[in-house]
């Protein structure tokens, strides 16, 4: 099976090169076919890879350079089920984006398809790679494709500003990762994650190890848009074309989290050993703060894509908090949540795109009541929103519930209500917007919302049934994630493998075997009564907040100054963002300097 993993990366990259190479030669239909078939083939390969990784070890050494006496000579893909599943999600969303774009952006230069395909291939490379520098290469490739896709609408200032802020913050994040790599290499003489893990675990972590870890993690957190590295995301995702946003929000942000989890689990967990909770606690708190900031900020948006962008920050925060719990149950929950969130948020971005194509605006107030005659769009919007909030056994519920269980096992009962509250906040924003746009509820003005963002609609001629069909597939898939038979035990088992540093190192460096649990049950995951109650309360809370948002009472003006301050921080000025990036890195490093020794 050594041929399978490289192809998951090579097929989309080659399809991208093929599309670009035929830019002025091949007819448009052929180009579209190459793009769609290339990404669909990648999806099939990724699913096969997932099946293979569940049953036996999948380890590829590029160029056949196997390690010699425990020293890695080349670069490896050590595939675990979670990574392979992530590849399937990446390829699936990219395929959906390419199908959606055929009529949504018919005028798009073919290079647009190329960039989407390259981004898909590079993200797959990132999640599969077992080499620290190789992670950096794929991170940069993803980013380079992302900058150009964000700035795609070169006539408007908004997309250009979004792309610049995105590019500058993420480039600096990439340099931090690279400096961290240089430090790790200086200490261990290795770039392979397994080998680094073994080398670092032999002695107590000192300043070098802690700072190297800080730099690598902060670099990845820039990509993942975690507070205070998150500012660029709302600018970039608000303005990129809808199908691009779908890929960005569904998977590209998340690979930053994959990077944090991967690097911690394979390379640093041994070194920090007894102090692991200090690492986890900071990630947990960063996650909770991001989730709450994202939730509150999404409540004050009127531009649907910007609202969704803050909802992404909110859910990324919830996932980071799950990672911070450092248990396999929680990580499995994060994987389930990532899947549900990717599909549901993707669908919501696509609905926003359809609104822009058909009603020429995606402004909540301008569109008030104007989409009453579009019940299908309304259905898709509410399905996506409900999948994100996660009432019992719907959408994101499974992930939330697994994180709940893990928190309860660790005795951290306070984590659960905070995460549910954050999800309810961003869900409330989406419900409010849906009620105003599709049902015509609420007042025509709302002073607490951020100023209007202009966005030019795409050319007319979008084939709405095709767009709607693509969106419906995602929305429904997102809705049923929690009741997929056998998903729970599988993500749980995958997460346990993801976190097992010793077996991983033994396997990668010496070819040792993994223990596999065969015959995992195909049952719907059982969840605790606590989670059911939280989910019901969160759903009701979201409805209540949405109702208040439609007709805010005067007494709410007491929070106005705090909101204004929070909004002012999101200034759109890249110099400020760079300052927050520096502050964030210094603070994260400082906290770990105190707690990790």
């Amino acid at each position: 099976m050594t041929w399978l993993a490289p192809l998951v990366v090579a097929v989309p990259l080659l399809s991208g090169a093929l599309v670009a190479g035929g830019d002025h030669v091949a007819p448009r239909a052929l180009q579209n076919a190459i793009g769609v078939c290339g990404s669909a083939a990648t999806f099939v390969l990724a699913v096969l890879l997932f099946r293979a990784a569940e049953r036996h070890e999948v380890l590829t050494w590029f160029g056949g350079w196997r390690p010699r006496s425990g020293i890695a000579v080349g670069i490896d893909f050590a595939v675990d089920p979670l990574a392979a599943g992530m590849c399937a999600l990446i390829a699936g969303l990219s395929c959906a984006a390419l199908v959606y774009s055929i009529t949504y952006m018919p005028e798009a230069a073919k290079l647009y398809d190329t960039l989407l395909l390259v981004a898909a291939g590079s993200m797959c490379g990132f999640v599969l790679s077992g080499d620290l520098f190789n992670l950096f290469v794929w991170l940069e490739l993803t980013a380079v494709a992302g900058y150009a896709l964000t700035g795609f609408e070169v006539k408007q200032l908004g997309p250009l500003q979004g792309a610049l802020n995105f590019a500058i913050v993420n480039t600096l994040g990439g340099y931090f990762v690279l400096m961290g790599i240089a430090l790790v290499y200086a200490r261990t003489g290795a770039l392979n994650l397994a080998q680094i893990g073994s080398a670092l675990s032999t002695r107590r972590p000192d300043g070098l190890v802690i700072v190297a870890f800080t730099l690598v993690v902060c670099g990845f957190l820039c990509k993942a848009a975690v507070v205070p590295f998150h500012f660029w995301l709302a600018d970039a995702y608000a303005v990129a074309p809808a199908p691009v946003c779908m890929v960005f929000a569904g998977v590209m942000t998340d690979i930053g989290l994959v990077g944090v989890a991967r690097v911690y689990a394979t390379a640093f967990s041994g070194a920090f050993g007894l102090h692991a909770h200090a690492v986890g606690d900071l990630l947990l708190w960063l996650g909770i703060v991001s989730a709450l900031v994202g939730g509150v900020m999404s409540l004050v948006q009127r531009h649907l894509k910007r609202m969704l962008a803050y909802s992404v920050i909110c859910h990324i925060g919830i996932m980071l908090a799950g990672i911070g719990l450092l248990s396999s149950k929680a990580l499995g929950g994060v994987a389930a949540l990532l899947l549900a969130h990717g599909l549901a948020t993707g669908a919501l971005f696509l609905v926003a795109g359809m609104l822009l194509a058909s009603l020429r605006s995606i402004d909540e107030l301008r569109l008030r009541g104007r989409a009453r005659a579009r019940p299908w769009l309304a259905a898709l919007w509410f399905v996506g929103t409900i999948a994100l909030i996660g009432p019992p056994y719907v959408g994101a519920y499974l992930g939330h519930a697994m994180i709940d269980d893990a928190a309860a096992e660790l005795g951290r009962h306070w984590v659960q209500p905070l995460l549910w509250l954050a999800g309810a906040l961003s869900g409330a924003a989406l419900l409010r917007a849906g009620a105003r746009i599709f049902l015509g509820f609420g007042q025509a003005t709302a002073e607490f919302l951020s100023p209007e963002v202009r966005e030019d609609p795409p050319d007319r001629g979008a084939n709405l049934p095709l767009l709607g069909g693509t969106t419906a597939v995602l929305a429904i898939a997102g809705l049923v994630v929690s009741v997929v038979p056998g998903l729970g035990p599988r993500v749980d088992e995958g997460a346990a493998r993801f976190l097992d540093r010793r077996s991983y190192a033994e396997h990668v460096l010496h070819g040792g075997p993994f223990g596999f649990k065969h015959d995992l049950p195909f049952a719907i995951e059982h969840t605790s009564l606590e989670s059911v109650i939280y989910a019901v309360v969160a759903t009701l809370l979201a409805l209540a907040i949405a109702a208040v948002g439609l007709r805010p009472p005067r007494s709410l003006s007491i929070v106005e100054p705090a909101l204004a301050g929070l909004k002012r921080l999101h200034s759109g000025v890249v110099g400020d963002y760079v300052v927050w990036l520096t502050v964030g890195t210094a603070v994260v490093g400082g906290v770990w300097a105190v707690t990790l020794r």
Binding site: F133, L157, L160, L164
Partner: protein, 114 residues
Amino acid sequence: MSYLPFAVAGWVCLIGLYGVATSRNLIHLALCLTVTQSSTYVLLLSVGYVRGGTAPIFKGVKLGTRAVDPVVQSLSLTDIVVSVTVLALILALGLDVFGAAKTVDPDEIAELQG
């Protein structure tokens, strides 16, 4: 001398960051980014230097001669390619911004905020 190289790498990184944070011109900002990036090559190559070592090119040198670290050099090569691409992309975005807003001051283009 023993820690000067690393101090220089740290200095270059921070001064570049300062430039990016305070820049009033996107072209200036792009060049400041290349300065920050250059700190990564300086750090990588300093980490890989071996006193008295030759370059890792064994033409006219006996195999087994003490040589500096070739791995960090190959990483720096990749890094240089990245720096060119980032510079080109940011300048292209900057030119588009100039076309749309008639300014290249990043502080003046806050179309999106809040």
